[in-house]
Symmetry: C2
Subunit: 261 residues, 2 copies
């Protein structure tokens, strides 16, 4: 069945940043196995990429170094594969193996739905599309609001989820992931200017070509890099309660602005 192949294609490759945050957060909070929650956020993220790449949305041909789903198969398969990946995310979180306590499972379903829905990720994507036909490019606060929805909400969820699985306070890891997510997006804008399609596995130079406001167009290349570096420091500061146990998350924060892809 093409939809199954397309789903597998869509979850193959990528950095798996969100799944890493879930698993590492659970580990440093002495939580249980977090594989189901990590797989859930990766499935949800993959759904958003498949739909975002569609011709009616960003119309991208290349993702993670491979043809996008609608290019490899067709639009109907891409719509259905994205739909089924979203469904799969909630199925994974609701399975008893995700956590023995159903209250934790229901809480994670609820928080993921809020992060992904019309007040979170979908709102960010809708703002992004509306910006393309807006009379004026967005300002900095508007770009930050857009990114807080489009990528920030899921990354923050990923940071908090490990602590939630462990029954620990999710606030420090949430603050870490919130700063990390914004730094990640600024670094993406920098890569769109400085990176190559070979290294990033997706088209570059699209935003500047489309005249879209980005962190680079608003802050300049140096200003954007400086802002990202400050956010990475903030992210690392939020990890202080965990001491050396959080070193992998500190490395992850440094990687987010040093990466070439």
């Amino acid at each position: 069945m093409p939809v199954h192949h397309a789903m597998r294609h869509a979850v193959t490759g990528g950095k798996r940043l969100r799944g890493f945050l879930v698993i590492e957060g659970a580990r440093i909070c002495d939580g249980p196995d977090a594989t189901h929650a990590a797989a859930a956020i990766e499935a949800l993220h993959a759904y958003s990429l498949v739909h975002d790449d569609l011709p009616a949305m960003d119309d991208d041909d290349l993702r993670r170094g491979q043809p996008t789903v609608h290019v490899r198969w067709d639009e109907a398969t891409a719509i259905l594969a994205g739909d089924a990946l979203q469904t799969l995310a909630f199925e994974l979180l609701a399975r008893p193996k995700a956590h023995p306590d159903p209250a934790i499972r229901a809480a994670l379903v609820l928080s993921l739905a809020r992060a992904a829905g019309q007040e979170g990720m979908v709102m960010g994507q809708a703002l992004d599309i509306a910006a393309e036909s807006a009379a004026h490019p967005l300002g900095l606060s508007e770009i930050e609001a857009l990114q807080a929805g489009k990528t920030g909400a899921l990354i923050e969820w990923s940071g908090r989820a490990g602590a939630v699985l462990a029954g620990a306070d999710p606030a420090p890891l949430g603050a870490y992931a919130r700063a990390l997510g914004l730094a990640f997006q600024i670094a993406d804008d920098v890569l769109d200017v400085e990176g190559s399609a070979e290294a990033t596995g997706k088209a570059v130079g699209k935003d500047a070509g489309a005249g879209k406001a980005t962190f680079v167009s608003l802050l300049g290349l140096d200003g954007a890099k400086s802002r990202a570096a400050t956010l990475v420091e903030e992210a690392c500061d939020a990890l202080s309660p965990y001491g050396a146990r959080a070193d992998a998350l500190r490395d992850c924060a440094a990687y987010v602005i040093a990466r070439q892809s």
Copy 2:
């Protein structure tokens, strides 16, 4: 924000059969308020219609007597509104107001995800699309498998959900809804031949025009009506444990094959 308006548009009108089944099932099992679960299944059903109507899928302009979402707004808005309606369905089920016991909430999320996903509704839609380019029209058992996924899985979930909310055995209401769902789809095929766009609120004659196999093309008009009537009897038989309390569900079964829209 257009996405919010489009979501509201998509959940307006319709028969609300699935929500009715949830609420009525909960009532006859002496269950708690079932509004959240009923709203969840209607949101999920609405998402499936919005995406199914897209140009890359069934390419329909009319739904519930109104322009479809991509006609009224655009394709990007329809993709995002459908996505957000699916998310909203899981959010509604996971809210504490859906049921005081988180185990019940997690169980309903899990069963809905299984009914909606790549082994349920999405599989049915993918089979439906594949049938359009198949060398031969589908046979009866293939059409039944397709419909069991495309519409049957969600209708059966709707039948079972009320009993699950009530902590009762969901098997009788599940059997009722399974038979009802198939009768409903056969009646849809009959309406596609005998109905009018004014009464049904959607395009008619599409399946015959496209040379698609339907229950009518396989069984004939009288054969299809007879099969639907038999299924309605089976559905009503499954309600015998509930006595007169289930009369509204019996009326609903009779309505499914008598309806003009």
